[in-house]
Each structure stands twice: as structure tokens, then as C-alpha cells.
Amino acid sequence: MDKSPVDLLASPSLASLLKSLKLKTKQQELLIRVSILCLVYVLAFITRLFSVLRYESMIHEFDPYFNYRVTQYLTQKGFYEFWNWFDSESWYPLGRIIGGTLYPGLMVTAALIYWILRFLRFAVHIREVCVLTAPFFASNTTLVAYFFGKELWDSGAGLVAAALIAICPGYISRSVAGSYDNEGVAIFALLLTFYLFVKAVNTGSLAWALASAFGYFYMVSAWGGYVFIINLIPLYVLVLLITGRYSMRLYVAYNSMYVLGMLLAMQIRFVGFQHVQSGEHMAAMGVFFLMQVFYFLDWVKYLLNDPKKFHTFLRITVTTAVGLGVIALGVGTASGYISPWTGRFYSLLDPTYAKDHIPIIASVSEHQPTAWSSFMFDFHILLLLFPAGLYFCFKRLSDATIFIVMYGLTSMYFAGVMVRLILVATPAVCLISAIAVSATIKNLTQLVRAKSKPNPVGPGKGTSSTKASAKGSPDQSMPFQRNGAIALLLGAFYLLTRYAIHCTWVTSEAYSSPSIVLAARGAHGNRVIFDDYREAYFWLRQNTPQDAKIMSWWDYGYQITAMGNRTVIVDNNTWNNTHIATVGRAMSSYEDEAYEIMRSLDVDYVLVVFGGVTGYSSDDINKFLWMVRIGGGVFPVIKEPDYLVNGEYRVDKGAAPKMLNCLMYKLSYYRFGELTTEYGKPPGYDRARGVEIGNKDIKLEHLEEAFTTSNWIIRIYKVKPPNNRW
């Protein structure tokens, strides 16, 4: 049995306590392991509760509001209604078939938890369940990480992996309480699938392979990132085949996982037949056939029993197989049976693709290439431990370590392409770093122990005995080995402490604000809360007609439908680029042109976000160039240079005339010229951009101000009915 490094953690008093319990060593180890896991489980949950304690139990950001709304619908109307839901409240006048265009995993999970709790007579509100789903699954992920680490290396590495992933900021960023998003459960599902698959490969057991197929099914139901699994696993199998690690275990694991996983995944309506029809899934199918060829070759090799003949046969078969595969792929693609790769997939392989071709993907901040600082921010010391872990993995190469190495390297690449994919890399980075930490500490403790073993006095007697024992020791090659080991151990301890401190700080400072409620420090150091978003949404909900249509930039679509309960023109499900471009065009046109567009879309209210009074910088004026770009991408009437002066984006007196008179400018700055925002500055001073606005005399002809929130962050305008013709 391996002595895990956690044995060290047991302080003398704990050791004596354990002694008094008269437990065997194995039982002691089990007790320590279970209690550490329990603590990690609890820690992973509570470290994600900063936002609940600081603000309230609420849903964060944008997409979670859609998920929340859908979950509410699911719990109120039941599964079949949900599955057949046609939502007429979004994408007016097109509507959206919700059941067929979402990954239901998250909502069904939350609804199940809710129903179970209700059945057990816990009178919880569905909101609480939704808020706490992500932390709960983060806790479960730590358990999976433990078992995965145990499978990869040993139980010590598993424990370290569980502890690392519990507080890793890269994961926390998407799983704090309230961020009720697909990723919250998907990372759990992803890691579970990988763990079960590696287990299946290691054991060759059908049961584990089937379990991994079900894990894959859960992943498919939860997040579009399942494409990563269905490409990584074939790639891994391919690498094993190439390195000559083909085995019956691999054959059983991959085939059963692939076939069953594919059939199960087809049950998700949003995914449908993509596994056999889309180019993104073809690698898995190719590897599946390749596996059969390998099996066949194995059989032929056994029958022929002659290497020479076999080689000739091998050449012929492999050439025909590859040739057939290429022809099939070519025919499938040409005939349109196999759909080509999507833009998102291309943008993963070529980071510059989105910028040139799909502005709507490029406009999202989380789709930007990752900066070095955010790697450091999200991984901290793991970034340094990762290569060390890779070294250990290569040193003890096995089927399992090859998997984790491949997972780590590929996901690291994707994390570099898109900020949000750091999330996918996090489990791999934690596992590989855990191997590094665990292996290092284990080696060091063995050094410390090896020295103390021949000496019956033990380590408790301190340094005086060290010299004597060092002299007495036959191994004279490294005189300060023990001290060095102790120093290194202390260093490791220091690094891990820094990591824990960093993670807590990042979680508390960066990842725990709901972004619906903005908090700032007042002049006297007190906390000032800007609750303007909810003020506006609740105003819409209470004081506009039930069937009012709201036009806003797509960012706010989900929030308006969920909190305002009103119909929107576009929302965060950016499935129809033309529709979004129409809104972008309306926002960037002159008022009378925009009025025509709004009339044609039946718009009753227009909502803009404006940060000029508070200095809130992610407002619509700062996003405006994306509206112009996206609008101009479909309607060439809108040209980006019209809004710029010498390539510069300005809102003050020197701004382009089209900029000063477009709808977005008018709606943002209507009557703003009368307001003094900062002492000593002229009226109409925009605090978000630090300039005095260029057009203070804004007259609206077809719209009227319907509501402006107390800090002006949200402004709502009513579209007037057309004038009488007489």
C-alpha cells in the first residue's frame, strides 16, 4: 500500500488521538482520506458562496437568466410542455423553439433536485436550487477529480487534485453560486466521462465503458463542449494505436462507449443526427472504423502466422481502408450529407477566423484570445506545476497518463484561443499539477523518512540527531539531503499556501459579483449599490402592456425576458445574425430611418444602457461599434468609417456627424446635456468616457422618454404611434 503524503499532515496530537482509537494503519489512512475528501467537498461548496453572502441569492449575468427562466417553466409546466415549448417572447416576430434549441441537461438536473427536495418536504424555492446547482456540482467534481487522480497516479495525487480543483479560479469563474450556466454541470460531466473512459481503458470492463457512455450522454445534454470529448477520445485512441498500445481493453472501451454514447446523444433534439452527419464528429467515426480494421488485422495476423505475408496484407488493407474513408468523407461532404465545420469550430483552430468572418462571435469578450495575465490569474502556481506534472507523466507512461497528457496539451491550446475555454483546461491542469505536487512531496518525504528510519530516536528529537545519523548513514553522496528535503517541503507548503490565498482573493474580488447589481465605494468608504438593471426590468414588468415588444442590444435580451417578462426582438441566443444586424442597423441609423425599422418590427419600447452618469463603462455607447459592424455586415448602408473620425471613436464635439445623430447616441444622451455629473465639469460631462458630449440639444421626434433609472444606467423610450395624416 502506498503511503500518501497526507500522512504527514497528521499532527502529533491527531496521531495520538488515532492511536487511542486503536485503528490499524489502513483504517487510519482511510479515516484521514475520507475526512480530507469531506473537507474538500465542503470547501469547494462554501468558497463559491461569496456572492450570496455579499449580495443575495440571485442569478448572475446574462445566460443564466435564460436557464433560470426555462427551469421555472419546466418545474411549472412539466417535462413535455418544456420539450415542446415554442417561446414567442423572444426573437419577435420569429419566436424560438426552446425544446429543440437548447441543451436541457442543466435545467433537468436543477428541476430533478427541486422535485426531490420537494418530495422530501423541503420547502425550497426553485431559485435557491438554481443558485446552488453550480457549487453543488463543483463539489461533486472534486470527488471525480479524486478518483481520476487515483486512477492516473495514486490516491495521494487524487487528494491533491481534489483540493486543487476545489479552489482553482479557472473553474470557480464559471461555478460560483448564482452562475447558473451549462458549464456548471458540464465540467463535472466532462471529467466524469473522461474518468470513466480511462477506467474502462485500464480495466477493459464493459461496465465502466457503458458508464462512460452515460457520462457522455449527460455531457451532451448539458453543454455544446461535448464536441471536445468526441474529438479528444478518438485522438487519444489514435495515439494509442500509433504508439502500439492497441489492446483488447481499448477495443472494448472505445467501441462500446462510442456506439452507445452516439445513440444516447441522438436523443437530445438539439444534437440530433449530428454524430453521423456533421464534420465535427467524423473523427470519432473514422477511429471507430479504424479500430475494426485493427481488430481484423489482429485476427488475420493470428491466422497467417507469417510476418512477411502479413506485411503485404497490412499494406493493402490499410491503403484500401484509408482510401475508402477519404472517398466516403469526400462524397459525404460534396453531397451535403456531412455538414461542413461551423464557424465556432473554425475559430478554435484559427484564432483570427472569427475576427474576419463572424463579428458576432468576435464581439463577445469571452471569445477573445487569452492574455498571459489571465492564465496567471486563473491558474497561479499550477501554470508552473503543469510542465513538472507532464514530466512525471512522461516518466511513468501508461495508457492513463497518455490520456491526461493529451487532454492537458489540447485543452491548453484551446484555452489560449478563447478565454472561456480556460475552464475546459482547468481539470487537466489541476490533475497534472496534482501529480507533480504529490510525486514531489512523496519523494521528499521518503527522503526524510529514509534517514530517520535507521535512527530509533525518530524525527521528533530535532536537528541534533540529524548530524549523527547523517554520519552514520552509509549514503554519503548527499550530505544535506535531509535538510534539503525539509526545505523543499517547506517551499512546497509555502507555494500551496500562496495558491490558496490567491484563489480565495480572486474568487472574492473578481468572480463573485453578479453583474446585475453593481457595487461601488462611496465617498466615505461605504458601499453604494446601483440596482438600476432590476429597477428598469421591474418597471417594464409592472408598467408596460403585457404584449409590449422591447428592442435592445442582444446582450440584455435574456434578462429582459426573464426579469421584465416582456417580448424582445433579439437575445443572447445569437442564432439569427440578420435579425441582430437589423437591430444594429436601427441603432446606428438616423431617427426617422430607425423609426421605419422599428415600426416594421412592432417595437413598443427601446432600451439602452448608459453609463455616462455613473462611469459604468460596459454600456451601449462603448459597445456601439460592434452594432455598427454587425449591422454593416448584413446591410452595407451602414459603414463603420462614418462613425469614426480619422479612425478614432469619439462622442465629444469632434465626433463624426453621423455618430452625433444616430439613434443610439440620441437615446443615450437625451437631455443629458442639462445634467451636471461631476463637480467642476461642464454639464453633459460623460464620466464613462471622460469627455463633454458633442450634441447637447437632442430632440426626439418619434420616441419619448418612458423611464430612466435613478442612476441613469438604463433608459427606456416609448415608440410613438405614427402621426395622424391630417
Binding site: Y55, E56, M58, L120, R121, F122, A123, I516, V517, I529, D531, R534, E535, Y537, F538, W539, R541, Q542, N543, M563, R671, E674, L675, E704, E705, A706, F707, T708, T709, S710, W712
Partner: protein, 463 residues
Amino acid sequence: MAAIIFSLLALSLSFFTVISSSSLPGLQILQAERQIDLTSHIVRVYLTLKVENIEDAPASTVLLAFPPAQFDHLALVKAAATVGKKRKKSYVPLEVNPTEQPSSPNGTKYYAISLLKPLLKGETTTLEILYVFTHSLEPFPVEISQSESQLVYYHDSAIILSPYHIKQQATLVKIPSNKVESFTQVEPTHRSGNELRYGPFEDQHPYSYSPIIIHFENNNPFAVVEELEREIEVSHWGSVQVTEHYKLAHAGAKHKGVFSRVEYQSRPGGSGVSSFKHLLAELPPRVHSVYYRDDIGNISSSRLRTSSKKSELLIEPRYPLFGGWKATFVIGYGVPLQDFLFESSAGARYLNYSFGCPLADTVVDKLTIKVVLPEGSQDPSVEVPFAVKQSLETKYSYLDVIGRTVVVLEKKNVVPDHNVPFQVHYKFNPIFMLAEPLMLASAFFLFFITCVAYLHIDLSLRK
């Protein structure tokens, strides 16, 4: 426009008298003084009647008459008899009930006041009567813009409607400010500042009626709670948890056109004068864990002041309420059990809690009070000082098996004067308190037993 024509018509028709043969004999009113308080949106009428019996048969009830239109808006009628003279004057509350009369002219509705002791011939008694109308101030113009102030109509009669002959009477109308657009002139009428005086009128026949209309400025918050559901949950573990769901609306003149934040911010006195920003809720003393939220989350703008006598919660809806705007929200709080739950006799307990709405100066159109009794309580009965609709429900909360009994009380048209205590009596066996902790403990016990069993049993097929 129509209303003005109507008021002119009313003027020309004033002093019409309904000659009715069925005028109730027996009593006559020597002197009547009426004071109509129009300063808030709840109309309070204080009436002092000096009643004399002029017939042989002793009279035990005195009737109050209301026109049908007013009767629908009547929230409360209270009456008290004055006992004693001058210094030693005291008031004894009397029972008031709605009654039907066989022949009531023009659909007149009645309330009967039961006297303490029957009035013999020639005897007199003095009655103090208070009645409260809601939704009786009609905004005109119906829609106003942000810069205008709110004008309302009040309809009534210059002469007190009564089934009895009134010898002498006068009416005083109090108005919030001295901005009166118009009022019906009925000789003699006096106006001084914010007071209007009709009368004195001498010797009016039964059912005399003289319609008047007063058109005046009233910028008081017309806060109306369209629906209020109060859930009072009793836990014998030491706390009473109250949750109140409000549907608040501004029932004054509708807001029209633009809402300009610049103007609202820069001219607090001149812009949106009829709108209101905050409301005051009076909560019991020693209140704890107060929250104020709505469907989409916590509302951060509220302040709680507590003292040993009372707690005051100043709530600010997310946005100022202009005419016709609505806001829904929830206020919840806990209060210590010993302040509200008392033991009456062996095994029987009663909850003593305040009826009505804790918000100051608001009308509640429909009030539902749900008293959730602890699981296992029996024989609930309710004591409320006025008529309410009662029913029973069952509610399942944390770890309930048989469900909790819920006493549901419903009442329409509730005003702050209804904030009087009511009692719910029930029987409860304290052994039920242990049910839930025991259930939890046994669940954990079972869980650990299963763990132990799992660790000790080898389920594998191979040896």
C-alpha cells in the same frame, strides 16, 4: 366635460326632496354635525347625532342611511354612545350591523346601530359615528403629466341622508390645501382656507338630499394595495414568521406621456408631486430578520428603525410610483413567539395578532390572512371583531407529513382602522414538536448504519 355638466344639473336640482311615506317614525334627530376629512385618499366622516325618541314605543336601534354608490365604498362604520356629562364624558362602543329596510327609497342602504338600552319616549342620546370611504375621490383630469398636480372630485350631499327628521345640521369639509378648483354652492356655504362649511340647515325632512361636488387638489399618495396576502406561520420553536405579499398601485390620476428623470431629480417639489417614493410600514417591536424583496430579488432601498415600542420599516419601491404605476413586493419578518402566542386553558393556545395592513395610510382592496398553525394542532377557531370570510387549508412545509392547518381569513376594503388584534385559538400537543428532529435524527442514523453495513459486507461475486 361631462362631469361639469352633471355638476350644473345637480346644482339646479338641489334641494329636491324625496317624499317618502315610509319615513321611519319614532325617532328624530335634534342636532347633527358632520365633519368630512378629505386630507388623504381615505375619506373619513365623523358624525355626531343627538337622537330623541318622540313616540311611545321604546327604540333600540338607530338607522344610518347611505346612498348605494357610497355604500359600495364603505370600508368601516363605527359608533359610540356618549355617556356622562362634560368632564366625565366617556365613549361606549356600540354594535353596528348592515340591515335591510322593507321599502328603501332609491335603493338606500342602511346600517343599524344597536343602542345600549332602549330609548324611551322623550329621552335623548348622543352618538359619535365614524365611517370611512375608500376610492371615493375621483381624479379629474383622469390623466396628468409629470409637471401637473392632481385634482380630484368628491361627491356627497350637503344635507345628511337620514331616514329621520333632522332639526338642525351642519357639515364641515376639510381639504388638504386651499387650492379648490370649484365647489357646489348651497346656501348657506362658507369657505375659509382649507375648510368648507355647509349649513346650518334647519328642519330637513327624511331622505332630503342635495348633491354637491368639490373639485380640489390632493397630492397625497393614493397608495392602494390591490391584493395583500399575509401569511403568519407559528412555530413552537420560538418564532412567528410573517410573510406579506403586496400588489401595490398608485390609484390617483394616471401618469401621461414622458417620465423625465432630469426633471424628477432636479425639481423635487415641482415635478411628479402626486407620485410617491416611499411608504412606511409599522411592524411589531422586537422584529427580526426583516426582508424586503420582489420576484426578481432583494430591493436594497429600505430602512428599519427599531425601538422597544414599535419598529418602523421605511420601504422604497424600485421606482417612484406615478399614477397608474404598479409594484409588487414581499415583506417578511420574524417576531418572538412569546409576544403573540398565549396559553388559555389546558392544552389550548391562542395567537393574538394584528389584522389589517401594516403600511400607513393605505387601502387594501382584498386582504387574505393565512394563519399557518404548527403541524398537529387541532380545533382552530377565530375571533375577529368584524365580519370576515373564513376557510381552512392544508399546507406542507419543511418535513411535514400530515400537513399544517391553515386558517384563511378574507376581507375586502380594508383601511388602517382595521388594524386591531384578532385571535386564533387552537389545541396543540407539545409532543408534536419532537417529530421533525426525531425524523432527521433517524434519517442520519439510517444513513450511517447503511455506511457501516456497506463497509462490513462483501458484495463481490468472486472470492
